[in-house]
C-alpha cells in the first residue's frame, strides 16, 4: 500500500505553568494515498494538534510522523513543498490586499511561475463562486467568502497532501456544501492526491470520507470506512426518543437492562435521546423510566445507525456532550 501519512506512537503534551495537557496520547495513523481521510472527534480531542504536527507547525513531544515519506521534524523543508493546510472557523487574510493578489502571493511563496498561477486562481475563484470578489479587498469579504478564499489558497499550490482542519465549521449550509463539493472535485482531478480533514460533524465524515478515524482524548478509538464503523453498532436497535425538557435522565436510561449506550442532544426545544438497545425488551424498561421522570414523550423512531452512534458506543457519551470528570 502506498502510504501518504503515517504516525507511530505520536504524542504531544502541552505544558503551561501549572498544568500538563496530553493532547495526543500515542496516535498510530496510516492513511493510504488517494484517500479522503476523516479525523472525527469532539472538541478538545486533539485533531488540530495532530494536523499542526503533520504540517510542520508544531513539534511532537515524542513518537514519529511521516508525510509523503518525509519526517515532519527533520525533513520539514522538503515536505513544505508537498503539502498545504487550511483551517476553518477563523477570519484570516491580509485585509488590505485584493483577493486575487493575496492568492497570487501564496503561489509565489510556493515558488510557482506567475502566469499559470493566475490562471489557476481564476479557475478556482470561478468554481467556488468568488469571481466577482476577485478584485475586492479581503477585509470586505464575508466570513464565508474568506473561508472559501482560504480553501483556494490551499488548492492553488497543488499539494500532494491537503490538510483541512474543520473546513466547514461556522459556514452556512450552502457554503459548507460548496466546500465539500470542491474537495470532492479536487480529489477527482488526480487520484494520487490525498486529503486529511478533521471534523466534529458526523454527517460530513460520513458523506465525504473514504475512511474515518474516530478520536477521543488524544487517542484513536476506532478506524475504518464509515460503513464498517456503523456496522459495529448494527447488532443494536437504534431508537430516538423525543422528550419534553426536564431533569437529568441520561444516567437512569443508561442503567436500564439492555441499553447498550445512550446520548442526548437538544433539538427544537426538546431533548432527543438516542438509545442503542441490545434487545427489544429493553424498550419496556426505558418507558418505565421515562414515565417515572414525568417527561412527555413527543416522538419515538427506530432508525439506521450513524457514526454518532458508533462514537457513543465507543466512548460512552455523545460528541456534543460535556465530558464529565
Amino acid at each position: 500500500m502506498d502510504i501518504a501519512v503515517e504516525t507511530r506512537a505520536l504524542r504531544r503534551v502541552y505544558r503551561s505553568r501549572n498544568q500538563e495537557v496530553v493532547a495526543l496520547d500515542g496516535v498510530d495513523l496510516r492513511v493510504a494515498r488517494g484517500q479522503r481521510y476523516g479525523v472525527l472527534g469532539p472538541n478538545g480531542a486533539g485533531k488540530t494538534t495532530m494536523i499542526k504536527i503533520l504540517v510542520t507547525l508544531l513539534l511532537p513531544s515524542s513518537g514519529e510522523a511521516r508525510v509523503d515519506g518525509l519526517d515532519v521534524v527533520h525533513q520539514f523543508r522538503e515536505l513544505r513543498h508537498r503539502i498545504a493546510m487550511v483551517s476553518g472557523g477563523e477570519n484570516v487574510g491580509f485585509g488590505m490586499l485584493k483577493v486575487k493578489e493575496q492568492l497570487w502571493m501564496f503561489s509565489q511563496f510556493y515558488g510557482m511561475p506567475s502566469a499559470p498561477s493566475k490562471r489557476r486562481i481564476g479557475e478556482l475563484l470561478e468554481r467556488l463562486g468568488l469571481s466577482e470578489a476577485a478584485d475586492r479587498r479581503v477585509s470586505a469579504l464575508s466570513s464565508g467568502m474568506r473561508q472559501k478564499m482560504n480553501l483556494i489558497r490551499g488548492l492553488i499550490t497543488n499539494p500532494r497532501i491537503l490538510f483541512l482542519d474543520e473546513p466547514t465549521v461556522a459556514l452556512d449550509v450552502g457554503a459548507a456544501r460548496d466546500v465539500r463539493d470542491e474537495v470532492r472535485r479536487w480529489m477527482a482531478e488526480d487520484p494520487t492526491r490525498t486529503v486529511i480533514l478533521t471534523t466534529h460533524y458526523m454527517m460530513e465524515a460520513d458523506e465525504l470520507c473514504d475512511r474515518v478515524a474516530i478520536v477521543n482524548r488524544g487517542r484513536i478509538v476506532a478506524e475504518g470506512t464509515p460503513a464498517e464503523l456503523k456496522q459495529r453498532v448494527q447488532q443494536n436497535a437504534i431508537v430516538d426518543l423525543q422528550l419534553s425538557p426536564g431533569g437529568r435522565l441520561l444516567d437512569a436510561l443508561r442503567a436500564v437492562e439492555g441499553v447498550a449506550a445512550a446520548s442526548v442532544t437538544e433539538q427544537d426545544g426538546l431533548d432527543r435521546f438516542s438509545l442503542q438497545l441490545s434487545n427489544d425488551a429493553a424498550l419496556g424498561g426505558v418507558m418505565r423510566v421515562v414515565e417515572g421522570s414525568g417527561r412527555q414523550i413527543r416522538g419515538v423512531q427506530k432508525r439506521e445507525p450513524t457514526l454518532e452512534d458508533a462514537f457513543v458506543k465507543l466512548v460512552g457519551r455523545g460528541m456534543a456532550e460535556e465530558e464529565q470528570a
Binding site: Y14, K52, V55, T56, L57, L58, L59, R77, R80, H81, I83, M85, S87, E90, N91, V92, G93, F94, G95, M96, L97, E101, W104, M105, F106, Q108, F109, Y110, G111, M112, S114, R153, T157
Partner: protein
C-alpha cells in the same frame, strides 16, 4: 526548477506584501502626507528642544548638524526594526496568516527579509526629506556635491543588514509574548539611545557606552556624519580614520548577524516546540 528561483519569487512577493501592508492602510494622499510629516515632526521636536536647552551657544550649528543627520538616518532603524518585528506579530495576531506563511516552502528568513526590505523605500524617503528640509531651514553645512557617497552607501548597506538581522531575531523572539504589540518601538527606542543618533555615546554612563561601542549602529552614525559633513562633523571617534570606522562597522555587523542568527534559530525552534506560530493573541 531551481531552489533559488523559487525563493526569489517568494522574496519578491514578500517585499510586495510588506509594501502593501505599510502603504495600503489609507488613501495614497494621506499616506504621502503621513510619510512626510512623521519624520519632519520628530526632527522638529528635537531641534526645538535642543535650541531651548542650549540657548544658541557657539557650538550650536555643529551639534544641530550632528543631531539632524542622526535623526534623519534613524528612519532606517525605525522602519526596519519596528516595521519588521511588529510585522511578525501582526501576521500572527491580526491577519492570522503567519502559520500559512510559515508552513509554506518560502524560507522564513527569505520571507522576513522581503517583508523588511519593503520598508527601505519609506526609510530612504524619510531620511531624504528630513535632510533636505533641515539643511535648508537650519543652514546646515551639507553640500550634495561634497558628500562622500561611497562611504555613505557602504556604511548604510552594512547597517541595513545589521538592522534587519536584529529585527528578524527580535521579531521571532517576540512570538514568545502573547501580546507582542508595541515591543518593536520599545526595541528601536533602546537602540536609539545607544546608537549615537542624538548625542555622542561618550555622554552615556560607562557600561552603556561600552555596549554602544559594540553596536554597529554607532559606527554607521559616525560614517554618515563624516560622509555628509566632512571635516565639520562632530566626531565620536576622533582617533579613528574613516577606514577604521568602516572596518569596525564591518566587524560589529558580522558579529551582530551571527548573534542574530543564533537567537533567531533558537527562537524559531522554540516557537515550533511550544506552538507559538499560531498562538491566539489579544488582538
Amino acid at each position: 526548477m531551481s531552489t533559488a528561483i523559487r525563493q526569489w519569487r517568494g522574496f519578491k512577493a514578500a517585499t510586495r506584501l510588506g509594501w502593501q501592508i505599510s502603504s495600503n492602510w489609507t488613501q495614497p494622499l494621506v499616506f504621502v502626507l503621513y510619510s512626510v510629516l512623521r519624520p519632519l515632526s520628530a526632527a522638529f521636536i528635537l531641534v526645538v528642544m535642543y535650541r531651548v536647552i542650549s540657548g544658541g551657544g557657539a557650538n550650536t550649528a555643529a551639534y544641530l548638524a550632528f543631531l539632524v543627520s542622526g535623526v534623519a538616518f534613524w528612519s532606517f532603524v525605525q522602519y526596519g526594526f519596528a516595521g519588521l518585528s511588529n510585522g511578525i506579530a501582526e501576521d500572527r495576531g491580526e491577519y492570522k496568516m503567519l502559520k500559512y506563511v510559515y508552513t509554506s516552502p518560502a524560507h522564513f528568513y527569505v520571507y522576513l527579509l522581503g517583508r523588511g526590505l519593503a520598508q527601505l523605500a519609506s526609510a530612504v524617503a524619510s531620511a531624504l526629506i528630513v535632510l533636505i528640509v533641515a539643511t535648508i531651514a537650519l543652514g546646515l553645512p551639507i553640500n550634495p556635491l561634497h558628500i562622500n557617497y561611497p562611504l555613505l552607501l557602504a556604511a548604510s548597506s552594512l547597517a541595513l543588514l545589521a538592522v534587519i538581522g536584529l529585527a528578524m531575531a527580535f521579531g521571532v523572539l517576540l512570538l514568545q509574548a502573547r501580546d507582542a504589540h508595541g515591543y518593536g518601538e520599545l526595541g528601536s527606542g533602546v537602540l536609539y539611545v545607544i546608537s549615537g543618533a542624538i548625542f555622542p555615546i561618550s555622554v552615556l554612563p560607562g557600561i552603556l557606552a561600552t555596549i554602544a561601542s559594540l553596536s554597529p549602529l554607532v559606527y554607521w552614525m559616525e560614517s554618515i556624519r563624516r560622509s555628509l559633513l566632512g571635516s565639520q562633523a562632530i566626531r565620536m571617534f576622533p582617533s579613528l580614520s574613516d577606514g577604521d570606522v568602516l572596518l569596525r562597522l564591518l566587524v560589529t555587523t558580522a558579529a551582530t548577524l551571527i548573534l542574530a542568527h543564533l537567537v533567531f534559530s533558537w527562537a524559531d525552534r522554540t516557537a515550533r516546540q511550544k506552538g507559538l506560530i499560531d498562538m491566539e493573541t489579544n488582538w
